[in-house]
C-alpha cells in the first residue's frame, strides 16, 4: 500500500482542496425549485393601490409567469437592478408579472425609493420579511422565477443582470 504513496497524497490533497471550497451563496439552490410557490397576499404600497387594489400576492390562477423580486431601499444592489426591472416590466408587462416585495424596511423609505426610480411594477410591503422566510431567502435582492403554473423555476440571489434576466425570460415565455 505504501508503494502507492503519491496516489494517496494526491487523493488526500484533492479531498482537502474540495473540502476547503466554500459554497458560493449565489449557487445555493432553493429547496422550492420545482415546487409550488408559497401563496400569500400582502398590502400593496400606496402608489399601486389605485391600479391593483389593496392587496396583491401569489395565488392560484394568475396564469402568468411571475418575477418575484425581494428588495429593500437600504440595499445597494437593489438600486442598481431597479431601473432594469422597470425597463423589462414596461416591455413585458402583458406577458410577465413583475412583483416586488419590500422587506425589512420603513414604508416611507420604500416610497421614496419607488419615486426615485419611477417604478411602475407593483410592490407589496412586508415589514418584517415574513414572506422572505416563507421563500427561504438569504438576503436582498433575491428574485424568484415562477412559471405560469405557479411552480418555482429558479431563484436568483443578488443583483440581476440583463443577460440573466433574458435567460430567465426565455425559460418562462413560450
Amino acid at each position: 500500500m505504501l508503494r502507492f504513496w503519491p496516489i494517496w497524497v494526491l487523493l488526500l490533497g484533492g479531498l482537502f482542496y474540495w473540502g476547503m471550497q466554500r459554497p458560493n451563496p449565489n449557487e445555493l439552490k432553493s429547496v422550492l425549485k420545482g415546487k409550488p410557490a408559497p401563496t400569500f397576499s400582502l398590502p400593496l404600497l400606496e402608489p399601486y393601490r389605485a391600479q391593483y387594489g389593496a392587496e396583491m400576492g401569489i395565488k392560484q390562477g394568475l396564469n402568468k409567469p411571475v418575477f418575484l423580486n425581494i428588495w429593500a431601499s437600504w440595499c445597494v444592489p437593489c438600486r442598481t437592478e431597479a431601473p432594469l426591472l422597470e425597463r423589462y416590466h414596461q416591455r413585458y408587462k402583458d406577458q410577465v408579472l413583475f412583483l416586488g416585495v419590500n422587506v425589512q424596511d420603513k414604508e416611507s423609505e420604500a416610497l421614496k425609493f419607488i419615486q426615485q426610480y419611477g417604478l411602475s411594477f407593483p410592490s407589496v410591503y412586508d415589514e418584517r420579511g415574513r414572506i422572505g422566510i416563507e421563500y427561504g431567502y438569504y438576503g436582498v435582492p433575491e428574485t424568484f422565477i415562477i412559471d405560469r403554473n405557479g411552480i418555482v423555476l429558479d431563484r436568483h440571489t443578488g443583483e440581476l443582470g440583463e443577460a440573466q434576466l433574458q435567460d430567465y425570460l426565455r425559460k418562462v415565455l413560450p
Binding site: G129, I133, G136
Partner: protein
C-alpha cells in the same frame, strides 16, 4: 495607636464589593434573552443558522431576518408545536443547510463516518505492517541452515568444554 482599625479595612472592602456587585448586575449576560421571548425560543434559535450572517446563529444575530425567525419560533411554540416541528418548518424552506447539526444522511453521513473510516484504515495499515514485520522475523530464523546453527552453537560453547 493602631494604624488600621477593623472598620478601616471592612469599610473600603464593603464599598468595593458593592461596586462590583452593582457593575455585574448592570451588565446583562450576553445570552440573556430580551424580555419578549422565552429562553426556549433562544434554545431552538441557537440550532438554526442566521441566513444573512457569517457564523452566527438565529439566536445571536440581531439582523432583521434572525429577529423574525425568533418571532416565528415564539409563535409556533405558543401554538403548541414541538421543537422538531419548528426545525422542520425552517428545513422545508432552507433545506438542511439551516441546521447547525445537519442529519447524518447522504454526503453528511460520509462527513460523520470519515473519522471512523480513517481510524479503520490506520488500524488496517498498522496490522498489515505488524504482520509483515513478524513474517520477516520468522523467515530470517527459519532461513538459517542446520550447519550454520551447529557452528554457531559450537562457537558459543565455553572454552573449557571445547575439545
Amino acid at each position: 495607636m493602631r494604624p488600621w482599625g477593623k472598620s478601616a479595612v471592612i469599610g473600603p472592602l464593603l464599598v468595593i464589593g458593592c461596586w462590583l456587585l452593582a457593575s455585574v448586575l448592570a451588565q446583562p449576560a450576553p445570552t440573556t434573552p430580551p424580555p419578549d421571548f422565552s429562553p426556549r425560543v433562544f434554545e431552538i434559535a441557537r440550532e438554526l443558522r442566521c441566513p444573512v450572517c457569517q457564523g452566527e446563529s438565529a439566536a445571536e444575530s440581531n439582523a432583521g431576518i434572525a429577529v423574525e425567525m425568533r418571532r416565528i419560533i415564539a409563535e409556533q411554540l405558543a401554538q403548541g408545536k414541538s421543537e422538531a416541528e419548528i426545525r422542520a418548518f425552517f428545513v422545508e424552506r432552507y433545506g438542511d443547510w439551516i441546521l447547525y447539526k445537519p442529519p447524518a444522511r447522504g454526503l453528511t453521513l460520509w462527513v460523520w463516518l470519515s473519522p471512523l473510516l480513517g481510524l479503520g484504515l490506520l488500524g488496517f495499515g498498522l496490522w498489515r505492517y505488524l504482520v509483515r514485520v513478524g513474517a520477516q522475523a520468522k523467515a530470517s530464523v527459519t532461513d538459517v541452515s542446520d550447519e550454520e546453527i551447529a557452528r554457531l552453537e559450537a562457537e558459543l560453547q565455553p572454552p573449557e568444554r571445547q575439545p
